[in-house]
Structure formats: structure tokens, C-alpha cells
Amino acid sequence: MENKAESLMGHGSFWLPRSASTVSDNTDLLYNVIMWGSTLLFIAIIAVGIYFVIKYRRTSANMKAEKHVIHNTTLELSWTIIPLILVMIIFVWGYKDYLKLSIPPADSMVINVTGKKWFWQFNYPKEGKNMLNEVVVPQGRPVKLVMTSEDVIHSFYVPNFRVKKDVVPNRYSIVWFEAKDTGVFQVFCTEYCGDGHSGMMATLRVLSQSDYDKWLVESELSEDIPLDQLGKKLFETKACVTCHSVDGSAKVGPTWKGLFGHHVDLANGQSVEADENYLRESMVAPNAKVVKGFAPVMPTYAGLLKDKEIAALIEYIKTLK
């Protein structure tokens, strides 16, 4: 299945990415109304300005002001009241759309979302699925995300759906949408959350109801691929890639290249050999042994990775010589 989110630049209008939820068309309509209205007014202001600047430029024939008009109450009142009416219309319109964006339909399907430095965890309470950095939803059904964070504030943003909401620790916030079309969409974190902020992305897959039902019963792990290849896949899907590289460069965390079997200097001055036990421990209790030169920022993957997945990741690391 294609896993790459559709391009935000490549689709949609000049200004906005393709609109893909039932409420995003409302937002776009108002956006365009304001955009065209502002453009017209702006051009009018600039045109008048340019006209005055040319017409009344200082020349030998125009060494002093021709006439001193210094006030005109009608004019003042009209450019106070007319803009006021215009912006009030925009306000009410925007507020009505905002309420649509804010109030999820009662029959929404619920997915729990947890933001963590630096990945998104999705939990389907009814269906019992757990996903990392990828969420799958059915088309044409309202979905309500109940979100919380485990560390700092994050923000859940799907540009194609025109929805965004901060994800606050120790609180729940909600965002809802109903996808119009099937496809793969980009999810960003838009509240600054530290070194991995720009890597804290997820993909949102919209499937038709029948595909979605099929997906639900599909087993999460395909049994037939070799462990190291599975590990390579998990490296991407479990968000390891946000902080670790496989090419030797240091990101937020140390690189995996040439890691296995070598000695690692720790922040507490000791040194350990990177064997299976060390790697396993680094995944489930990452702050027990912190590598020298790196901050202890990695969240624990205990509960997020099955035993087989940990083994797969270790096998993958072994291949990175």
C-alpha cells in the first residue's frame, strides 16, 4: 500500500492544499472571500496612492500644497463604519464555521491520540489497535480524536482537513473530521516541542469503509518477511528515524551505523558493549544508560514494541556495519 502522503504543494489551489474533509470547503470559501476582498481593497489603496503620488508630485508648478482639506466627517465615518460592518460579517461567518470545526457529531468514532517527544501514538479503544505515526480512518465517517500529551505541548495538524488543536499534557483536547476522499494525508506537529519537532510527523490514511474493515482484521505483522527487513520497516514506522540515523550522522540521538558490537561511552563515564541486552534495555528503559554527548530525551518504548519487534530492530541494527 502506498504510504507516502500526498503533496501539499502539488495539489489544491495556488494558496491552499487540496481540501479533503467535509468542513474544509467552508474554511476555503471564507479564505477565498477574505483573500479576494482584501486584494481588491489593497489594490484600491495602492492605486489611489500611486495616483496621488504622481499627480501631486513636487514640481516647479506645484511647490506648495494646492489645497488644504483637513477634515471631512462623512469620509471619516464611512471609512470607520463600512470596514466595521465588513469585519463583523467575517467574524460571524468565521465563528459559525469554527463551531462546526469544534463540535464533533455525536456518532463519531473515537481514536485516542498521545503526543510524545517525538511521535504520535494512536489507540483505537474499541478495535483494540495501536499504531505509531500512522492512523487509518474510514472515509465518510466522522472521527473524533481525543488527544493528550505525555510531556510538553504538541499540536495536531492535518493541512488537508484544515483542522488543528494543541495537545496538552494532563488534559484532553479533541479534534474531529470526516474525510471526503480516500488517500494518504500529512499530519504535522505545529507546537514547538524541541529538537525533534520538525520530525514529529504522521501519516493519515483514509480507506473506504470496506478497505477499512479489511484492514481491521489484517494482522499487524506480516510473518513471512525476515527479521532484519521487518526491523528496517519498523525503523521508519515506529519513529526511530526521527532521532536516529543509519548513515553515521548524529541527530537528536546517536547513529545506529556501526553500533552493534562496539563500545559505547556513556554520560556517566562508563562504557558498555552494544550487545543485544544493551540495545533491548535502550529501547524499554532508554534513560538507564545514556550515551555521552546526548540528552536523556528518549521516551520509553516499553509497551509500544512487541518482543518480536524489538528482536527485529536489533537484527536490523546488526546489519548496519
Partner: protein, 532 residues
Amino acid sequence: MAHAPSGTNYLNATKGWKSWLFTLDHKRIGIMYLLSVCIAFGLGGIFALLLRLELLHPGQMLFTAKQYNQLFTLHGAVMVFLFIIPSIPASLGNFILPIQLGAKDVAFPRLNLASLYIYIFGASFCLYSIFSGAVDTGWTFYTPYSTATDTSVISMTLGAFILGFSSILTGLNFIVTIHKLRPKGMTWFRMPLFLWAMYATSVIQVLATPVLAITLLLLILEKTIHVGIFNPALGGDPVLFQHFFWFYSHPAVYIMILPAMGIMSELVTTFCKKNIFGYKYVAFSSIAIAIISFLVWGHHLFVSGQSEYASMLFSLLTFLVAIPSAIKVFNWLVTMYKGSISFEAPFLYFLSFMFLFSIGGFTGIFLGTLSIDVHLHDTYFVVAHFHYVMMGGTVIAFLGGLHYWWPKMFGKMYSEFWARISCLLIFIGFNAVFFTQFILGAKGMPRRYYNYLDQFQPLHAFSTYGTWVLGTGFLIMAVYLIHSLRKGAPAPDNPWGGLTLEWKTTSPPPVENFLVTPEITHDPYDYERAGL
């Protein structure tokens, strides 16, 4: 009119570094502020150039993610706290305000000098924080990130806290000066509009900045003794921090833009040789902006988890603040009608301001609209919007004012030719950098991203190229302005044909501003009566 071209003035009256460091003369203090804010602007500008360079391509170029985060935080903090807030009020305002008023000095000269030293003290904390594990929270210091990070948040917030008091004391000084030191004949409605703007600014400085002080103090307490009120893990509310922070920081936006608007009123009258259109509307719109600015802070919290009801309230009030700004723009526009317009560098800045500030204002309507802000919040659209207002508005006006009053301040003329070239480069460069970012933001590019999707690369690259044009413009300006100090032609007392009081004294002015105390008998911009 007094003429003493070869006489003593405030620059040469006393000599030696002590006569500067211990001066109580508002003009010298203004010059020292000018130097300080220009250094801060240079520093913030270098940070900006480096940031854009890093964003030329996705992936790592020059910096690691952490270094990039520290850079954008420092860029924001230095530009906001060290440059924009004191830029016009403390430098140009300090120099011009008492002279335009017809006073010998500000009401409390010692306090004025004290605010300069408080500024420098606060600035040194900020600089210290750069070298002691630079802060990486963004200039907004949102909790709980700021209470959890191990970078030097405390020294930076302490610096901003101290700088706040410099700002409060300057504002306090100006309010008292305008109330108590107006000479005979200088009634409220004969005050130049720059003074009205400065007055409105000062009100915000005095009444909003203390809330920043308490916010930062509580943040420091949160970080050191864990008071708990901003820390969600302890039952506190991080959104409350955002309320506290923006209660100051939104009015602070008007601390930045109001003085700029004041300068625009001066420029348009002088270079059109025409009385301002709708004096009272322009004057009172400054006061209206100052008051309404206290009511709109919640529009920074539309997606933060603030209640829907509060968002509605703040959105409504946000639209109201657009009106007085629009009134000003329309009045300036009509002031040009039937004037006699000349195009020296300061007026070019006026025209740039009209163009850029209008775009900044119109894009503000998008962001004030609830449903659209949900899409645009924390994207590059916001970045572009506030740069159009802060840089296209305030910085452009600051440069306009600097070029307008430069001959008065130093008694030297700069090269008009190079001034026009540099203004043009800044205008073109600025639009290249930031208009691009409107498109990026609307397309969904989030702000404060070290890395980005490949598809955004062409626009990011274009924006980065723009910064080089912009940088060149500023570099040229630095060269010709410094050159003018040494080699510039002596400035006449009134090079632009202005009518306000600063043009009735010598260039540079004498120590007590006027050799003959000026008499004020009519409007500040009465070109008709002056027969000019």
C-alpha cells in the same frame, strides 16, 4: 528662528567618555539607545540570515536541530526585547519627544539614564544566556517546555524581566513629560501626532509590561521551586501561562507599531507640505488602539485549548482593533491629496510602510477569523504576517524616522542616492523573503521547523535568497550612515521643510534644545498658515 551653525551643541558641549556615560541629556541618552538597539538589530539580523541559510535545503546544512532551535529563539528574543520594543520609543522618542514638545528635557532625566543602564544590564543577561547554553524555547517561553528544558531559560527570562523595567520607566517618563512639561501654547491638540502615538505607547508600556514581569517571575519560580501553577503535571494550567504571557505580549505588539504610526504622520505631512487629514481621528485612533490592545490577547490561543466561548470573545474584539489602524491608513492616504509631494528617502519609507503595513493588516484579518486561524495558526503564514507588521511596519518606520531625523541628530546629511538604493533593496528583499512565506504557510508549512518536506524547498530557497538582498540593503545603509558622520555635508536646521518644533532649533540642537524658547500659536502642521 535660532541660527548657530558653528556654536556649541549637545554633541560638543562637553567632552570625554564620562560626559556621555553620566549624561542626563535626553539627546545623548537617545543616541546611546540608538547605538544599542542598532547593535541588537545587527545581532538579530545575523541570526536571521543564519536561520534562512539553514533552511535553504531540507536536512542539515550548518546547524544541528538544537542549534537551530536556539538560533530562532535568540533571533526572536533579541529582536523583540532588545530591538523592537525600545527601538523607536527609547532612541528616536527620547531624542525627539522633548524637542517636539518644546521642553528642555524629559521629566526625570536621572530615571531616563537609569532606564538606559537597566536596559544594558538586562541585555547583558540575555547575552550571557547566549553563551551559557543558549535558550531553545522560542521567545514565548511556553510551559511546560520551558520548565523542562535544560537550556539557560532563567538568565534569558531574567534579562527580559529587567528589560521590562527599562521599558516601564521610559514610558512613565514620557507620560509625565507630556503632561507636565508642555510649554505655554502647546495644547493637547497642538501636539504633533508623533507625541500622541508616543503617549499611547507609553500607556501600554506602563500598564502591560508589569504583567510580563510577574509572568516571567512566576516562570522562574516554576522552574526553580515548582510553584505548580503553570505545570500540568502538578495540576497547573499551561494555557494559563499563555494567557499571562499574551496579556503583555499582545499589547507589546502595539508598543512596537504605535510609535511607527506616529512617525508616518510626521513623514506624510512634511513631505507633502500639507496639514494632516483628520488630525483628531489619527490622534484618538492611537488612544483607541492602546485601549483595545488590552482586550485581544486571546487570539493567540484559538487552538490552544482555550474555551470556544473565550475564542469567540477574543475574535470579536480582535476585529475591532483593525478599525483604528484602518482609519489611520485612510487618513494618511488622503493627506497626500493635493499636496506637494517630494520623494526623499524618508518619504520612500513612508510609501513602503503603506504598502507593507496594509498587507500586514489584511493578512491579520485571516488570522483573526476563527475558522481560518485554525488552519493557519503556527504556520509560516503567521510568521509572514507578523514580519509584515513588525518589520514592514515598525522597522521600516524606524528607518524612515532615522533618515528623517538623522540630520537633526548629528548635523550631517547622508547620501540621498545610496539611501534610495538601500530603501529599494530592503523593500524588494523584504517582499521576497516574506511574501513567499504566506504561500508556504497557507499550504501547511508549520513554523519553527528545522527540517521540512522536500516539496517546500523551492519556496524556502526563494525566501532565503531574499534575505541576501535584504541584508545587502542594510549593509549599504550602515556604510553610508557611518560615512555621513565623518564626511557628510553639514545639515541645515530644516532640511525637509518641516513645521514641528524640532525643525526650529539648530542641527544638532543646543544642550537645552532651544536657544530661544519657541512660541506655539497654531496647529503643528499648518502649512497653509506658514505659507509654505
